[in-house]
């Protein structure tokens, strides 16, 4: 492959040639990025803070804090490698690593879009994480970024390159908690899943009032590999996630779930592309949204079945619950089928709280307020059903509860 410098240079040229998207670009129709790009940033990391927020501490996990520079601690990595049998290294010092050489910028190519290009041109660092063949990690690996309050808005471009070897298994949590002053984090994550490997991948985004989070993720699956990817996003000014899943090996499976909890005037936008390239693959995708105040949710999902991909099974669903008159949603589930022996379905529903259900609960003595709480909670919790790690599940359950208490307090 080309050197990092050459990749950076190409990405910079792409960005200069094409510029940032506007709302005339189909994929950015509903996503106003002006507040992100019309802003001057410091580049880099915020200093570690003592008042670190403990919302996102998983019990019993390998935790690597990106914000405080712990990722930059070789001792921690070697200790981790010893106990787990896996490898973790800084990306900037792994340019000559053969895996990096083979895969860097191939799963999520720089020219995919402006923000991937921006990341590729400017990434401050990243991590490469390799789970060797036959290693099955019992504890989750948790990468955590916390955006502290700083005097200046900060832009962090960070990357992950994750490889699961054959028959390996692992849970990865990537969390991003913004509390900052118009901070802007821009992540690119490239994931390769070898034959028969199995990944549980969680993206947890707690946006601060004014912060922007963009992620671009590519997951490439070989024969019989499986991924369960779960996005959880709440708060923030702008959260935009792009996910591409390539089911390239026979019998591969993906289960993609997302929950967005919007409030204030935040925008949470999930775009996904699921490509059924090989035959016999299964994809299930469900995104749910709860929106209040003047928040805005976007779901855009395209499932493409390639001509060879016979015996594909694909389901795609988007459900949104609007809790206020001024909350809005745009839902665009799409299927493109180019093979004949397939089973596919997709659908989208948007609605308000079912007042008959509220009455049903009230008729049993439950207050109207509590009834609404229970119904929204029930709607949201369904998305967590299939999470196998209890500690991750707990954190998300608490986050849902916190959101519900917050919106109750503000009276929406």
């Amino acid at each position: 492959m080309t050197s990092f410098n050459a990749s950076r240079q190409q990405a910079r040229e792409f960005l200069l040639d094409n510029g940032f998207p506007t709302n005339k670009d189909e994929a950015w129709r509903f996503t106003n990025i002006q507040p992100i790009i019309n802003q001057e940033y410091d580049y880099g990391f915020h200093p570690p803070s003592n008042s670190s927020n403990k919302n996102l501490l998983l019990s019993d996990a390998y935790q690597i804090n990106i914000h405080s520079g712990e990722y930059n601690n070789p001792d921690q990595f070697s200790e981790f490698s010893l106990t787990s049998g896996c490898t973790i290294e800084r990306l900037v010092s792994s340019e000559n690593n053969s895996t990096v050489k083979a895969l860097f910028s191939t799963i999520v190519p720089a020219h995919q879009d402006a923000f991937t290009a921006l990341n590729t041109a400017l990434f401050q660092d990243g991590l490469i994480f390799i789970v060797p063949d036959n290693i099955r990690l019992d504890k989750p690996v948790h990468f955590h970024l916390e955006n502290e309050i700083a005097n200046h808005p900060t832009n962090l471009n960070f990357r992950f390159l994750i490889i699961l070897g054959k028959n390996s298994k692992c849970t990865i949590v990537l969390s991003n908690e913004g509390v900052g002053e118009s901070s802007f984090s821009n992540f690119v994550t490239e994931i390769k899943l070898s034959d028969n490997s199995q990944l549980d991948y969680h993206v947890i985004q707690f946006g601060g009032e004014n912060d922007h989070q963009i992620t671009n993720t590519g997951i490439s699956l070989e024969d019989n590999a499986r991924v369960h990817a779960q996005y959880f996003s709440t708060g923030g000014k702008t959260i935009r996630n792009d996910l591409t899943v390539n089911l390239s090996g026979q019998g591969a499976e993906c289960d993609i779930r997302g929950l967005i909890l919007g409030k204030n005037n935040g925008l949470i936008d999930n775009h996904s592309l699921i490509n059924h390239i090989a035959p016999n693959c299964t994809s299930n995708e469900i995104f749910k949204g709860v929106l209040t105040d003047t928040s805005h949710g976007v779901f855009d999902g395209l499932v493409t079945v390639f001509p060879n991909a016979q015996l594909t099974s694909a389901n795609q669903k988007n459900q949104t619950l609007l809790l206020s008159k001024d909350a809005t949603t745009n839902s665009n589930p799409r299927l493109q089928i180019n093979a004949d022996n397939v089973k596919c379905s997709h659908g989208s529903t948007t609605g308000e709280l079912d007042m008959d259900a509220v009455f049903y609960l009230q008729s049993r003595g439950i207050s109207e307020e509590m009834a609404k709480f229970m119904l929204i909670q029930g709607f949201a919790l369904e998305i967590l059903d299939s999470i196998s790690n209890e500690s991750v599940k707990n954190i998300l359950q608490q986050a849902i509860e916190k959101y519900l208490i917050d919106i109750k307090r503000t009276g929406s």
Binding site: M355, D356, Q362, S363, R364, G365, M374, G378, E382
Partner: protein
């Protein structure tokens, strides 16, 4: 227990209840029968406080208080219970969580201490047997994917768990198989005592074979046009409603 006086109600501008008078004393079981669309469910809904109805005339005294001034949840806490004709499913909220929340809301209202999970489980296990539902039902979302008969048994389960003073059962017998009908009737019979009252809405005589109703009322066009003892139900079974309609059309308009 409850004194309903000249109750009139409209929905979307249309009059559905046109002057209902009914008094139920402690321990009594009243049956309301009447053709489709007569206003039976509307009557039940209005008593339990479902929003959307406009009460244009009349009053309801329940245990000496003005029922119509209470919110639905306060009515429930005061011991009123409605078994719905069409119980709705509530995806995502499991039956156990729901029942525990309901039971504790009512206990709290009455100044009793809340039950913890263990005590609650004990209560619920025992009651499940009474309505012949197995334990798996309390782990499922409320009514989600329940068969018609299972939904009705789940309503009765809620009744015997929440221990209301006045139970309004809207066609709880519809959709039950022969054995379930007997189970539900036995559940109601076991639950009956001299303090608890019932208003049972039904189309059929069947369930009445198991229960000893004190009164049968016929509701027609939003009014009770005829009342009698349990032999009235047998007459209806045989002759339908046409003779009642003929009689009532000869009555002077109220």
């Amino acid at each position: 227990m409850i004194i309903i006086n000249n109750l009139h109600a409209k929905i979307d501008g249309k009059s559905i209840l046109n002057g209902i008078n009914l008094t139920v004393k402690p321990g009594e079981l009243h049956v309301i029968m009447g053709p489709n669309g007569a206003g039976k469910s509307t009557f039940a809904n209005v008593l339990s406080g479902k929003p959307g109805y406009e009460i244009t005339e009349g009053s309801v005294q329940y245990l000496g208080k003005d029922l119509l001034a209470m919110s639905p949840e306060v009515r429930a806490c005061e011991g009123l219970f409605l078994s719905f004709q069409y119980p709705i499913a509530i995806p995502g909220v499991n039956n156990m969580y729901f029942l525990k929340a309901a039971m504790n809301a009512i206990r709290k209202y009455r100044g009793d201490s809340e039950l913890d999970a263990m005590d609650f489980l004990k209560v619920i296990r025992e009651k499940l047997k009474e309505v012949n539902l197995d334990d798996s039902f309390i782990k499922r979302p409320v009514n989600e994917g329940f068969s018609g008969g299972e939904k009705k048994r789940n309503e009765i389960l809620q009744m015997i768990v929440l221990q209301p003073t006045l139970s309004i059962l809207d066609e709880t017998d519809s959709g039950l198989d022969i054995d379930a009908l007997r189970t539900v009737a036995e559940g109601i019979n076991n639950f009956r005592n001299s303090d608890r009252s019932f208003i049972l809405i039904t189309h059929y005589q069947r369930m009445l074979d198991y229960l000893e109703p004190d009164f049968i009322h016929i509701l027609l066009d939003g009014k009770i046009v005829k009342s009698g003892d349990k032999s009235l139900a047998l007459d209806l079974e045989e002759r339908g409603y046409s003779w009642v309609k003929d009689q009532s059309s000869q009555l002077p308009k109220a």
